[in-house]
Structure formats: structure tokens, C-alpha cells
């Protein structure tokens, strides 16, 4: 396993040395690394803790926008815009006469990077406290996070003088190159290790137990909300870091990077690769995005169709994803088939505590999520 990991790292790290830095595949590799971290962050909350957030892109996007704004402001200082001014051109289009005061600190890139990491994490903390302390999870959590994502998009488009609006932020010096690729690779490995420590330590077992049965965990004395908030913040931090690197690498940021569609894409990468596994998100992101790049030119009309079928296929046939399925297969072959049937068919499989409640939420759904 370790060897395989080392080989992958070697391939990615070695690529630009061999192929040169002008290749567009280098651009893709860096992007995919960011996507993989993003998928890993989704895996942490969805795969390991059972919270489905359709707003994970919010944290990715905020991280990306802070960095992009900072780079753009700096770029404009060195390279006067088409209008001949020394502040970002989209501000000029929107009638600003100078860089707004509240954006001046962003001239300092370290400050912007700090913001890119801290602001999303703090936001996730606030959202997490409000959401999980009020026992919102499952479907409701998904829909609320979706709404948040849409609000951020609206906000970015509406306040285009400060965010570049629909056009996004583009045309600034990005960090495309070998050193930054290696840096991203190092960060990816670091996050992978953090995730590994987190999920394989005792806290990881607690998180999984909350995912499996949050009621039981609560009656076992765990403050379920606190655990959820904690992992939500860790996940937001990872997303934000991925977004920050993405902005620095790709050099273009738009409102789509904060939207629900991007979040769902991240969820599907995780699902394809194998949720609740650590390699799954990486594999999923590289595989789906790579295939998309290869096929979307040749099969423009049918690529989306394939994506749709992939969604359904993964859910119906391969809910554990590629890595999960392989692991299952290995386990079965190691142990022989598990033919343990339950002694008694338990017809009373519903927690009857709830039976006396009046018309409530649909049976299948809320509690079991």
C-alpha cells in the first residue's frame, strides 16, 4: 500500500520534470490534486460521519476567492489594467475609483492566505453550531447547505464590484509550475495523513459510531453535536485549503466554484472512489475528472449521459465505491463467505419509542440517516 502511494506521488511529482512545465496535463494534475482534497474533505463528513453537505463548495470558494483577490490586487499593482489603473479591472468596470479600504489588507498575500483558511473554518464553526446543536442533519442539512451555497453565489454575482461577479476573477499571476506542484503534493499528503490519523484513532471510531447510530452514541454519553461540529470544521478547513491552492494554481475563479453543482460533483467523486475510505476520494476525483477531460471532447453529447448513468450505477450497484468493493471482495476471499443468518427475523425492527408520536416525519428517513 505504502509502495503504491509512493509510486503515485512519484508519478505526479515527476511528471513536470519529464514533460516540461508547458503541458496542459500539468495544469490538470494540479487541479485534480485540489479536487482530490476537496473530495477527501467531503469524505470526512459524509463517509466517516454521515453528514451530507451540499454546500462544501462554499468553503472551497471562499478560500479560493481570498487568494484570487489578493493575487489580482497584486497583479494590478505591477501591471496596470487596460484602463491604466493600478487596481483590479472588474472594480473599474463597476465604477469604483480605487481599491476599497476594506480590501487593502489583502495586498499582503500571507494575510489573504490566513483569511482563506480561517474565515471558512470559522464560518463552518458557526454554521455547525447552529445546525448540529439544533439537531439538524440528514436531508435537512443537505438542503440547508444547498441554500447556503446558492446564497453565496447570488452574493458574488450581485456584489460584482468586489468579486468580479458572473465573470469571476481571472488574469492574474498564478503559481503554475514545478515548485508549487510539489507544494500541493506535500499538502495533499499532509491532509491524507491527518485524515488517516483522525479516522483511525479513537475519535474516528466515535465518528463512525455516530454515523451508524447517533441515538445510541448520544445515550452512550457522547455529545454528538460537538463531534459533528469538530469534523465539519476540519472538513471546511481542508476544502478552504484546496480552494486556496486551486485559485493560485489555475488562475481563474468563478461563482461556479462555490455552487451546489460543484459540491455534488465532489460527493460523486467520493462515492465512485469509495466513501469511508481514504484512497477513495483521490481515486474518484482523478478518475472521473480525468475521464471527463479525455472524453468530453470526443463524446461531447454523451459525456453527460455517462455521468448520469455513473451516478445511478454507483448508488445501485456499487454503494461502497471502487475501493470499498475491492476491499469487500478481498475480505470475502480471505474469510470465506459469511453465511451467518440471523436467528430470529425481527419484525419489530423499528424503534418503538417513537410509536406513540403523532404524525411525524416519514419513517424511512430522518432517524436512520
Amino acid at each position: 500500500m505504502l509502495l503504491l502511494g509512493a509510486a503515485v506521488v512519484a508519478v505526479i511529482g515527476g511528471f513536470p520534470v519529464v514533460a516540461g512545465t508547458d503541458s496542459y496535463i500539468l495544469l490538470l494534475l494540479g487541479k485534480f490534486l485540489c479536487y482530490a482534497i476537496f473530495a477527501l474533505s467531503i469524505d470526512l463528513i459524509w463517509g466517516f460521519t454521515g453528514i451530507l453537505s451540499l454546500g462544501q463548495a462554499v468553503y472551497f470558494g471562499i478560500g479560493a476567492y481570498f487568494v484570487a483577490l489578493s493575487l489580482k490586487i497584486n497583479y494590478a499593482l505591477d501591471h496596470p489594467t487596460r484602463y491604466g489603473n493600478k487596481f483590479p479591472d472588474f472594480m473599474e468596470w463597476n465604477g469604483l475609483k480605487a481599491l476599497p479600504h476594506f480590501m487593502e489588507p489583502l495586498v499582503s498575500t500571507p494575510f489573504a492566505v490566513a483569511c482563506a483558511l480561517i474565515v471558512p473554518t470559522a464560518l463552518a464553526f458557526i454554521f455547525g453550531v447552529i445546525t448540529f446543536k439544533r439537531h439538524i442533519y440528514g436531508v435537512y442539512c443537505a438542503v440547508i447547505t444547498l441554500a447556503e451555497s446558492l446564497i453565496l453565489q447570488e452574493f458574488i454575482i450581485e456584489y460584482q464590484a468586489y468579486t468580479g461577479g458572473f465573470n469571476g476573477i481571472t488574469d492574474y499571476s498564478n503559481y503554475l509550475g514545478i515548485p508549487f506542484l510539489w507544494f500541493m503534493l506535500a499538502v495533499t499528503i499532509a491532509f491524507f495523513l491527518i485524515a488517516r490519523v483522525l479516522t483511525h484513532s479513537r475519535i474516528g471510531t466515535v465518528l463512525k459510531s455516530i454515523r451508524d447510530n447517533d441515538l445510541r452514541a448520544q445515550f452512550m454519553g457522547y455529545n454528538v453535536a460537538n463531534y459533528r461540529i469538530f469534523v465539519f470544521c476540519v472538513s471546511a478547513f481542508m476544502s478552504a485549503a484546496a480552494g486556496a491552492m486551486y485559485a493560485a494554481w489555475v488562475g481563474i475563479i468563478s461563482y461556479l466554484d462555490t455552487g451546489p453543482v460543484f459540491s455534488v460533483e465532489g460527493v460523486i467523486w467520493t462515492a465512485v472512489g469509495g466513501r469511508a475510505t481514504l484512497i477513495g476520494p483521490f481515486l474518484g476525483a482523478f478518475l472521473v475528472k480525468g475521464l471527463e477531460f479525455l472524453l468530453s471532447g470526443v463524446l461531447a453529447a454523451f459525456w453527460q449521459l455517462l455521468v448520469g448513468l455513473l451516478f445511478i450505477f454507483v448508488v445501485l450497484v456499487m454503494p461502497d465505491g471502487i475501493v470499498g468493493s475491492i476491499a469487500h471482495w478481498l475480505r470475502r476471499h480471505r474469510k470465506g463467505t459469511l453465511t451467518q443468518l440471523r436467528e430470529e427475523q425481527d419484525l419489530l425492527a423499528h424503534d418503538r419509542e417513537h410509536d406513540w408520536q403523532p404524525a411525524g416525519v416519514p419513517r424511512s428517513g430522518e432517524e436512520s440517516v
Partner: protein, 437 residues
Amino acid sequence: MTMRRRKFLKSSAATLGAWTLGGTAPYYFMRNIAKAAEGDTIKVGILHSLSGTIAIIETSLHNAELLAIEEINAKGGVLGKKIQPIVEDPQSVVQVFAEKAKKLLLEDKVAAVLGCYTSASRQSVLPIFEQYNGVLLYPTLYEAQECSKNCFYTGAVPNQQLDDFVPWIINTLKRKKFYMVGSNYIYPKETNREVKALLEKHGGQNVGEEYAPLGHTEFSTIINNISGSGAEVVFSDLVGDSIVAFYKQFKQFGFTADDLPICTPITTEQEIAAMGPENAEGHYTSFNYFQSVDSPENKSFVERYKAKYGKDAVTNAVMEAAYFQTYFLAHAIEKVKSTEADALIYEGLPGQEFQAPQGKVKIDEQNHHTWLWARIGKANPQGQFDVVWKSENWIRPQPWVPYLYPDKTCNFTDQRVKERLSKPWSVEKNRSGTINL
């Protein structure tokens, strides 16, 4: 000791092997795919979204360009070679535009790229074209205030659509009070800024200005506001879905074109087909081209387009630009007998003329934009436009309109610009032709 050392050597050799093999294999694999397709052809990239929200419009541009390439190839191609279109689908996502542009330039080594529709997509690819010195032909009408060495703009700029339109509304329609409705992004905001400047100049009045989110389809509130504003004309720069919903609801709330006409620089035959001619009848659009333009070139263009894409297909101005820019490119390559970018940029494309469906068009020698005709059309019950006014001559494009930016112009023949552009990109990243007067 020796054991350990050998082990170390072995493992590092293995790592190195994996490194080189793994790193290069997919790269050369991809490269070979690209090479295999390479024959005795001239490769041209086509970069329009075929999926995602903007595919609604971009697919037709893609179609028009393929039609033109087919025609050129049927007549023997360029320099004796066929044009080979390399089609990429950027999926309406700006980052994908950028990465596909990079792929087209670096891997496919295309002579030029025909592509983009929104300003957002153009802006996302321009830095790449500038860095790798590619050629982009961009067919959309846009807000201007830009000119890049590597981009040729074949769509209209505001002075070609608005400079005559606004005074015409004021003087001919005798309507002075404008209510402006637009989608909330750069193009409508910039256009409305120019309209306001023109209103001031020609004695009109701005009685209201409102923007709806992109993709918005509920206009009752805006219609209520218009109704109370005392407006005599609605100036709309809504785009996409919003156009259709707005015209429909405008009519349903009892407004007719006689009471309150909608004037717009963007509604085409395509949107009228989608909303139904009954909802558009009597409203005005200012454009360089309409499907109803009466010229032999246009008749044959419409005929050929319908023959290829079905009898219900409609043509519009952006498509027409996509169509003739393909010819611009072919003729430019023919002229300089090369696909070298700088040859095309400095000699091939500037000054290139073509008898387009709208009339004779020309790429300006100085600013890379295109000389076009101005027309005002009134929508008729058949879903076409009756041309009620036409400019006497083709109109020179002005990327910087003088009444807003009196001290700026764009001139690639200017010595200062030439000097700047002679430096390599790594030294001078500014590839714009803008100069301060």
C-alpha cells in the same frame, strides 16, 4: 551494511523507474492520439460549450462554424489542405474553457481557435492566448473596452449597435423616457452606461434601471415598476431565458408594442421563435444582421444552414459572425501562406474583407475589431424582423467609445504598441493595444 546499501540502491532505482515511466507514459499516450489524427490538414480549434447552461446559444455558433469549414473544404480547402476542426466542449465552465484552450494550443497546435460566447469565457482564455501567442476569433457582440493582440473580435461593439439606435428611438419613435432592464452582469451594465451617456447627449431621459439575476424568469415586479415609471420605451439587455419570459409576461400584463415598445441590442430571431412571434411583434432590435436581410449572400447562407440543420433552424447575428469569421481565418491563412500566429496577427487578419450575409465586412487594421453594418429591425408576425433602418455605410468599430473614454484608443499599428509587443511575453505581459491619447 552492504545489504542495506544495496537495498537502498535498488529501491531508489525502482522509484526513479516508476517516476519516469509513470510520468511519461500517459503524456506520450495522449500525444500519440493527437498525432495519429494529424495528416495533411490545417487544424482549427472550435471552443463552444455543447453542454451546460450556455450551450443553448453556443451550439448554434459551433454549427455555423462547422458549416463554413465544410464549405471551405468543399471548395478545396486552404493552401491545398483541408481544414480539420478540433472540437472541444468547455461545458459552460470558465476554468474548462481555459484548460481546453491550453490543450488546443499546446497539444493540438491549432492554427487558430474559433470560440467563446460570454465575456467571462473570453476573459478566461485570453491570458492563455497571450502567453502562448495563439489566435482567437470571437464572434459575440460584447461590451468592448478591450483589445488584445491575440484576439480578433468579429461581433458588434456598442458603438455599432447603440450610437444610431438611441437617437433613432428619440427622434424617429419620438420616445424620450427610457426604462432599462438588464441581466445582472457586466455586459448589460456596461451597455446601459453607454446608453445613459447617449441619452444625455441626445436629450433622452433615464426613468429607471433594474437588473434581474441571470436566468430569472419572473418579471411581474419589474413590469409593475415599469408601469409606474412613466417610461415611453423599455430598453432591455436581458439575456437567455430571461428574454423569453420577459416578453411573454410583458404582453400578458397588457402592454403592447404600440404603447410601450421594447428596444434591445440582443434579442434575436432565435429567442423570438422560442417566445412565439405574437409576443415579440412590434418590438425593436438593433443588430448588424437579421435573417431577413435581403442579399444574395444571405439567401444562400440561410438556405445552406437550413439544409444542414433542419428547416426550422433560424439564423441570427452572432451565428452570422461565427460563420464569416471562419472565412476571415481561411482567407488570412491563404494570404500569408502560413499558420504562424504572428503572420496571421500582423498581416493575415487585419484588413481582411469578406462579402458576408449582412454585407461587406472588414477587420479593422488598427484595433482587431470588425467593420459592420447597423440595422434596426421591427419584429413581424412571422417571427422575423422588418428592417426599418439601415446604416448608409459600414461602421468602424470603436472599442473605446469617445463619449465615455475620450482619452483612449486601440491601435496595433501605433509604434508604442508595436514596441511593447515586440518584447517577449515573459518580459511584457501587457498584450493590449490600448494607448492613452
